[in-house]
Symmetry: C2
Amino acid sequence: MSRASDSYHHGDLRAACLRAARELLEEDGSAGLSLRAVARRAGVSATAPYRHYPDREALLSAVAAEGYRELAADLTAAHPSPTTPDELAAVAVAYVRFALDHPAMFRVMFAEPCDPTNEDRVAATAAISQYVRDIVRGVLPAADPEALSTAVWALVHGLAFLHLDGKLDASTPEAVSGQVRGAVAAMLAATAPSAQVGA
Amino acid sequence: MSRASDSYHHGDLRAACLRAARELLEEDGSAGLSLRAVARRAGVSATAPYRHYPDREALLSAVAAEGYRELAADLTAAHPSPTTPDELAAVAVAYVRFALDHPAMFRVMFAEPCDPTNEDRVAATAAISQYVRDIVRGVLPAADPEALSTAVWALVHGLAFLHLDGKLDASTPEAVSGQVRGAVAAMLAATAPSAQVGA
DNA sequence: TCCATCATGTTTGCACCGCTTACATTAGTC
DNA sequence: GACTAATGTAAGCGGTGCAAACATGATGGA
């Protein structure tokens, strides 16, 4: 692919590192993700990745940024521009599902004390944040849309983490989506009593 | 204190390790918490802690278990047995405050892929879980108390994490408590329209 | 009282890690 | 075709988790 035969130079080590990092993350979780392991998997010397990522933090941030983009893609795939509570609930379900499908990735994205100055990262998280705000605002013009979108995000985010930590029943996708839909419906019903919300 | 002068044996190394671990956690975060650092702080050889904790995971779990107990204590201190939405909101605020006051500890408790077989840990988390359920059930007998308590916990848990990650305004304690109270009020108003909820 | 036992420390050592420095190779550029 | 910069390698430092093998001393039975 991107590797130029067996030449001294790799070809696209930057991308290869990212790919290797994601693979290791899925296999061994965040603990198994070392720069040396990434280098081994990319078939390159232990210190080569440092040419592309100043330190481990930077690589993790790059992985996280990719995760934010994929999460955003999953959400829009669930519904491109939700306008009803039901449609919003579908997006919420997609959020939690992402966490359960990519637990290690999700933890890298949200659960580690991250470098708040990393550009990739702040841009991607700001995009997600804005995205949630827009969706909630579009679904129902509440008195305080800011507070409402915060509440919805927190609710879904919390559900994701509690499921990840095994504190809630995540045995079947239906169980998960049921809990998420119920919670979102309850919250929206509160702020817009006129809205019809399906269970 | 617990140290028997400068004798060969420490006296209470187990407790000393726990204390040292918590101190290191507050100072350097989870990253700075190594068994060797703990041993140094306890004034003992690098491998001595292994007599009391089989591995690093076990020590972290012990710290986490202590955290769960303190969290529970903080919650009951906020209100021993809440019966009104306002009182429940006070407990929710205490939850988020705990996370912000002990960020590294909170991350150890919830954000790391933990050993789910550790006895201390599962017992302590089960207690917290049951506690939340009892509180919510006591505040208002909803149609589906299980779902409601799940939703409330998730909401508060999510708020805690988003605050921790700097995604929400945590500049002042008032800002934080305002958000938490607003969100809880919205959620409770939905499931019990007759309940009076203060902003 | 003496001494055997055993919990609790220490020492040594291995493999791995992040990261730095110095050096090697090669792709472009004039 | 030589110069330069980008990109790779090799060697090495201090740190880490953890496993043996060994040292110490508190404790309890003879």
